[in-house]
Every structure is written in C-alpha cells, then in structure tokens.
Amino acid sequence: MRPNDRRYRESHEWAQKQGDVLAVGITDHAVEQLGDLTFLDIKAKVGQKVKAGDLIAEIESVKTVADIYAPMDGEITAVNAPLGQDVEPLGQSPFEKGWIVKLRPASAGAYDALLDAAAYEKVVAH
C-alpha cells in the first residue's frame, strides 16, 4: 500500500499537504515504469499560475522521456532545483525525497477530488 498521507492522479503524480501548500511528485509506479532516471527538467517557475494537467516537468530515463503534470489549479511556490542537478534521490525515494514542486491550490476542494491511496492502487493494478 502506498502512503495514505497524500492524494494521487491517474497520471501517477502525488500531492501531499504541507501547511497551506501541496508538495507534488511522482509515484514509485512511475519510477518503475521508466527505469533508471537520468534527468529532470522542471518547467514550472516560482510564482507561475498553473492549471490542472499543465506540464510542470519532463523526466528522462534511459531513452525515454515522460511528462509530469500539475495535479490541480494553483500557484507554484517552490521548485526542487537540486533534483535538476541530480535526479537520483527521486529515483531512490520518490515519496520522501522526490518532491518536484510545491503549489498553493487555487481552491480547497481540489485536493479531496484526487485519488486516495486505495483508489490509486486500483489504477496501478488495472
């Protein structure tokens, strides 16, 4: 079972409440799909307004590039720039060390509309 202290998207991002912002990363399933990660390009900038589904980063593993999306509308408050220099912590520990951006949600209800851990398990198992 994946951590139930956060919510998930079908596109394999997670969002965790940290005060009035959400930390956003990708799941272990996404990492397993891609294999050894080589590079993370965080597109989102601090202060940028994003919509749910907007591209916030691209991640490369050996020969494969995958898109990473904003889980909800909001404003980017921080980016994990060190991951852009060394993506290994994300690969090793996507839930603990792999936050990519922090985002202040535009509305409180959007978080609850994401998948809980049990629902995400079903997505992955499908």
Binding site: E10, S11, E32, Q33, L34, G35, T38, F39, D41, E58, E60, S61, V62, K63, T64, V65, A66, D67, H126
Partner: protein
C-alpha cells in the same frame, strides 16, 4: 486493438518528427508509421546537449539538424535507415519501458528473420560501441539489436497524457532485405508486438496541418 498503418513515406527530418508529435498530441487513434528521411537528418535526443554533436557536424555531409521529443542520443538518418514510430494508448499491457522495448525488438528479430541478427545481450562482441560517444548507434544497450557485431536497431520513447510514442531506427546493411520486403516484415512485427490489426490509412489533413505548425519546434538548423 486496431491500428492505422501509414506505409513508408520519405519526408524532411523536421516534418517527420513533427508528424509524430502531432499524432501524440492528437491521440486520435493508435497509429503505426514507417518512414525514411530526405534530406539526411541528424537528430538529437530530447535533452542531449547540442554541444556534444556540434564539433562533429562540419565533418559530416549536408544534413538538417533536428531534435526528437524522445530520449537517447544522436542519430544520423540517411538513406540506409528505415524508421518506425507507433503512437498508442500507453503503455501497452502496462509494461515498463524496458519490457516494451524487449517485446518490440523480439518481434522484429523474429519477423525479419535475418541470419545473425540478435539482441546485443546475446552478441559475443560489439565493435560499434565507443565509450562516451554522443551517437546512439555507438552506445548499445542490452535490448538493442545487432548484426555482425554492430548495433542496427535502437529505440526511444516519449510518454505523454496516457499515450506512448515509440521511435525505432533500423539501419541494416543494404543487402539484407529489399525495401518492400523489409517494410512488410517490419509492419508485421509491430502488429505482432502490439497485438493489433493493421488498417492501411492516411494522415488526416488536420494532423498534417498541425505537424506543419509544429515543424519549426523540431528544426535546429541545416547545412544544406
């Protein structure tokens, strides 16, 4: 699954890549394309630094420099190469990247049925590899295909909005198979790998128009 099959066409490098991008963005239907390149193209991987290849370009023949949306290293796309791309809801069978590479390459290995063609992992020695090379065909991984000690097939993917774009570059010696036979066997291999029925089709006008709009995104320059 039924997949639209776009038979081999020769187009300019940036347009070839823009068409794949348009298919991935459009997500209209599962599609398999075969294509060739004219003029010659030199493509970089999505995040490959241009500096890795720039010093070498002056010694190459005339070409268009382009950037793929998929990963990996630089590829010289000349008349020897037959490229394939598929755009499908992703990932097929929920497979991870390496598993999907293996499935596709195994089907190609079986369907091409060329004596000596094998996975790189089964090749006793590979003379085409060069440590640190910026070229895809000089940096083989276990799941690439090799013939006579040289890498002849490499793949790369992009995964976006629930769909996968897979690029494969096949550069066989000219005397292996006549082009029509090669194309037929490659199409059969992709249908087998993706467990789909091929339906001969055409690009939609809207897809072509979108690709024309995207074309400049992929073009990095020309020495023509």
């Amino acid at each position: 699954m039924r997949a639209r099959f776009l038979s081999a066409a020769t187009r300019a490098p940036a347009l070839n890549l823009a068409l794949d991008a348009a298919l991935l963005e459009g997500r209209a239907k599962p599609t398999i394309r075969l294509y060739r390149w004219a003029p010659t193209g030199l493509s970089l991987g999505r995040f490959q630094p241009r500096e890795e290849i720039e010093p070498l370009r002056a010694n190459l023949g005339p070409h268009e420099l382009v950037r793929r949306s998929t990963g990996g290293r630089a590829i010289w796309h000349d008349a020897r190469e037959l490229t394939f791309a598929y755009v499908v809801p992703a990932p097929p069978r929920g497979e991870n990247v390496l598993a999907s590479f293996e499935r596709v390459h195994r089907a190609i290995l079986e369907c091409l049925s060329i004596p000596g063609l094998r996975f790189v992992r089964d090749e006793p020695a590979l003379c085409s590899d060069r440590a640190g090379s910026p070229w895809c065909f000089e940096r083989a991984t276990e799941l690439c295909l090799a013939l006579d000690g040289r890498k002849v097939l490499g793949s790369a993917q992009r995964r976006s909005r629930g769909w996968t774009l897979h690029h494969g570059s096949l550069a066989l010696p000219e005397d292996c198979l006549a082009p029509p036979e090669l194309e037929a066997r490659l199409a059969r291999a992709l249908a087998q790998a993706l467990d789909c029925e091929l339906e001969p089709g055409e690009l939609l006008p809207a897809e072509f128009a979108h690709a024309e709009c995207l074309r400049s995104t992929y073009a990095l320059g020309s020495t023509l």
